[in-house]
C-alpha cells in the first residue's frame, strides 16, 4: 500500500513510461484514480486550496501579527484598514495611525486614519511570543511594526467588540477548526471502517446488531444528542480536554455514515470474482481484507472522508452557536461566527462576517475535492 502511494506522483510525471496504453494496463487502482482525478480541474484546485489551509493552520501564529487575546476598549469595532503600499511613488508599505472618538449622538466609535502619521509595516517583525509547531518558542511574525504595539497599529480585517484583531484570530481559529475536523474524521473513520467492515464482511447477527446500533444513533435528532453530551462535559476540563471531547462527540454521529459506505462496499466486493479467487487459493481473511478488498475501495473511503470533513467543521460551528462547542478563550471558527451572530455586529461591524469566508471556502473545497475523488474512484466508469 504505502509504496504504491509513494510512487504515485512519480508515475504521473515520468517521461520514461512507455506508451499510455501500457501505463494503464500496469497501473494500480490508486494510480488510475489519481490520473483521473487530475483531469477534474475543480477538484484538483480544491485539493490545493485544502493544502493551503492546512499550511495556514500549521503556521497560524506566524501569520497572525496581533495577540489574538489582547483586548482594549480603545480598539473596539475598528473597520478593516488596508496597508498603504506606496508613499509618494516609492514602495514603502505602511499603515496610518488611527484615532477614535465616540459619537454622542450615535454612540458609535468613529475611527479616522491620520495620514500624517505613517507607520512602516515590517516583514518578520517581533510580536507576541508563541511556540512554532508547539515546540520552538519565538516571537517572529510575518508582518509587524517597530513603532508601538502592533495590536494598536495593523487592522487588516478590523477588530471585534473587545478590540481583538480579526485577522489574527482567524488564523489561529483555522488551526483549531481544521484539526477538530481532522481528528473527528479520524475517529469516525476508525469506527466506521472497523464496524462497517465487520458488519459487511461477517454479516449475520453481528451485522444486524451493528445495523441496529447505527439505526438508533441516526434516529435520535443530533441536537439533543449533542446538547446532552456536550453539556455533561465536566466544566473543570481545560480547553484542550473540551476540544478532544467535542471532537469525539461530533464523530460519534459521523461514523455511522462511513460505516454504511464501508459495509456497502464490503457487501458488493464479497461476491466479486477476485475475492472468491483469493479465498479459494487459501488466503487468510486478514490478507483478503487488507491486500485485496481495502485497496479496491480505498478511494471511496477517501472520498467519503473528504465529504465528512466539512460536515464536521459545520458541526463545530453549530455547537458553538448553541453555546455548547468550544468556548472562549478558545478560538475557533464557531467561536468567531458566534461573535458575528448579533444585530450590532451586522449593523456596526459587518466585517466580522469575514469569519464566514474561510468556512465557506474550506467547505466548498472539501466538497469539490470529495466529488472529484469519488468520480475518480470509479476508474472504469
Amino acid at each position: 500500500m504505502s509504496e504504491q502511494a509513494a510512487t504515485l506522483p512519480l508515475g504521473t510525471t515520468s517521461k520514461a513510461a512507455s506508451s499510455a496504453e501500457e501505463r494503464i494496463a500496469v497501473a494500480t487502482q490508486l494510480q488510475l484514480t489519481w490520473w483521473r482525478f487530475k483531469k477534474h480541474k475543480l477538484a484538483y484546485a480544491s485539493g490545493i486550496v485544502v493544502i493551503l489551509f492546512y499550511l495556514i493552520a500549521i503556521f497560524a501564529d506566524f501569520l497572525a501579527y496581533s495577540d489574538p487575546q489582547s483586548t482594549a476598549a480603545a480598539r473596539s469595532f475598528i473597520a478593516p484598514q488596508g496597508i498603504q503600499w506606496f508613499d509618494e511613488g516609492e514602495f514603502r508599505p505602511h499603515v496610518f495611525a488611527i484615532t477614535g472618538k465616540r459619537d454622542a449622538k450615535t454612540f458609535k466609535i468613529i475611527y479616522a486614519p491620520d495620514p500624517t502619521q505613517k507607520i512602516d509595516v515590517k516583514l518578520f517583525a517581533r510580536g507576541y511570543s508563541y511556540r512554532l509547531f508547539g515546540l520552538f518558542k519565538t516571537d517572529i511574525h510575518l508582518i509587524g511594526v517597530d513603532d508601538g504595539k502592533v495590536e494598536d497599529r495593523i487592522f487588516l480585517l478590523g477588530t471585534d467588540l473587545l478590540g481583538r484583531d480579526l485577522w489574527s484570530r482567524l488564523m489561529v481559529a483555522t488551526r483549531i477548526s481544521l484539526s477538530v475536523g481532522l481528528a473527528g474524521v479520524t475517529i469516525s473513520l476508525f469506527l466506521g471502517v472497523l464496524l462497517g467492515g465487520i458488519s459487511g464482511y461477517y454479516g449475520g447477527a453481528i451485522d444486524i446488531l451493528i445495523q441496529r446500533l447505527i439505526e438508533i444513533l441516526r434516529s435520535i435528532p443530533t441536537i439533543p444528542l449533542w446538547m446532552g453530551l456536550a453539556a455533561a462535559l465536566p466544566r473543570q476540563w481545560s480547553v484542550v480536554q473540551v476540544y478532544i471531547a467535542i471532537t469525539v462527540i461530533i464523530s460519534l454521529i459521523g461514523w455511522t455514515e462511513l460505516a454504511r459506505v464501508v459495509r456497502g462496499r464490503f457487501l458488493a466486493l464479497r461476491e466479486e470474482d477476485f475475492v472468491v479467487a483469493a479465498e479459494l487459493s487459501g488466503a487468510s481473511q486478514l490478507r483478503i481484507i487488507i491486500r485485496h478488498m481495502v485497496p479496491s475501495f480505498l478511494s471511496h473511503i477517501i472520498a467519503a472522508v473528504s465529504l465528512a470533513l466539512p460536515a464536521m467543521i459545520i458541526s463545530e460551528t453549530t455547537l458553538s452557536f448553541l453555546g455548547l462547542g468550544l468556548r472562549p478563550p478558545a478560538i475557533s471558527w464557531g467561536v468567531l461566527l458566534q461573535d458575528a451572530q448579533n444585530l450590532q455586529a451586522l449593523s456596526i461591524a459587518p466585517w466580522l462576517l469575514f469569519s464566514a469566508i474561510p468556512v465557506i471556502i474550506v467547505i466548498l473545497a472539501f466538497n469539490f475535492l470529495g466529488d472529484g475523488l469519488r468520480d475518480a474512484a470509479d476508474p472504469y466508469g
Binding site: I208, P221, L322
Partner: protein, 330 residues
Amino acid sequence: MLAYIFRRLIFAAATTVAISVIAFVIIQLPPGDFVDAYIASISATGGQVSLAEAEGLRIQFGLDRPMYLQYFAWITGVVQGDFGFSVEWRRPVSEVIGDRLWMTVIISVFAILLSWGLALPIGIYSAVRQYSIGDYVFTFVGFFGLAVPNFLLALIILYFSFVLFGANVGGLFSAEYQLEPWSWGKVWDLAKHLPLPGLILAIGGTAQLIRIMRANLLDELRKPYVVTARAKGMRESRVILKYPVRAALNPFASTIGYLFPFVVSGSIIISLVLSLPTVGPLLLRSLVAQDMQLAGTIVLMLGVLTVIGTFISDLVLMWVDPRLRAGLDG
C-alpha cells in the same frame, strides 16, 4: 417475505424502546434539573424564588424521584397516549406540541418541495451536461448554500429584509393575523411569510440532493442500455427521462420516509433564529430548561418517525429491487 417484515417490525419496536431510553438519559445528562433552570430564568428576568419554594417545586414535579422511576412514569403514560406534562409551559405535552405541529408540517413540506423542485432539474442538467459551465455554476451555487452556516444566513437575511424592504421580522404571521381565526386572509398572510424561512431551510438540503441526483444519474447514463438506446437513435430527452432518471430517482423514493424528521431536526436552529412557531425551538428550549417530558416526547417522536421512515424505505427498496429480496436471508 412476511417473516422478514415481521422481523423488521420487531427490530423497529426494539429500536423505538432503545431510543426512548436513550432520549431520556441524554436529556438528564447535564447537571441540575428543571427547577435549577427555572430559578435561573426567573431570577435573570427580575423575579425571585425562595429555597423552600424550589424544594416544593421539585416534589410537585416529581424531580425528587430517581431517574428510572421518572422514566417509567413517563413511558407508561406514553404507551397509553398521555405524553405527560410540560413543566415549563405548564400544559400537557400533547397540547404544547399540538399547537406547533401543523406549522411544522406546513413549513417542512414546503421546504422539502422547494428543495426537490430545485434539486432535481439542476441535478439532471448537471449530470447530462457534466463539466459544462452550467454544471459548474449550479454545483457552485448549490454547494455555496451548503457551505454558509445557515444560522448566520438566517439572521443576515432577516436583518437585511427589514433594513432594505421593511419586511416583518420573523414568525409566520403578521401581527394583525396572529390572533385571528383561520380565514383566506390568514392563509394568504401565511403564504407571504413562508418563502423566506422555506428557502433558508431548503438551501442546505438542496445542495445535497443535487449532488446525489447528479451522481446517480451519471452512473445510470454510463450503463449499456443507455448507450444502446442512443445508438438506436432515440431522442435524447427520451433517452434520459424514460429510464435513467427514473432509476436515479429510486434512492430518493427510499428517503421519503425520513425526510420529515430530518428536516425538523435540521431546522431547529434556523427556526430559532427566525422565531418560527415550530417544534424546533420548542425542542431546544425544553432541552435548555430540562423540561424532561416535553423534550423526551419530541425526541421520541422524531426518532419514531425516523424508524418508521427507515422501515418504509426498506420495504420500498425491496419492492423495487429484486436483488435485495434475494439476499434477505444473508
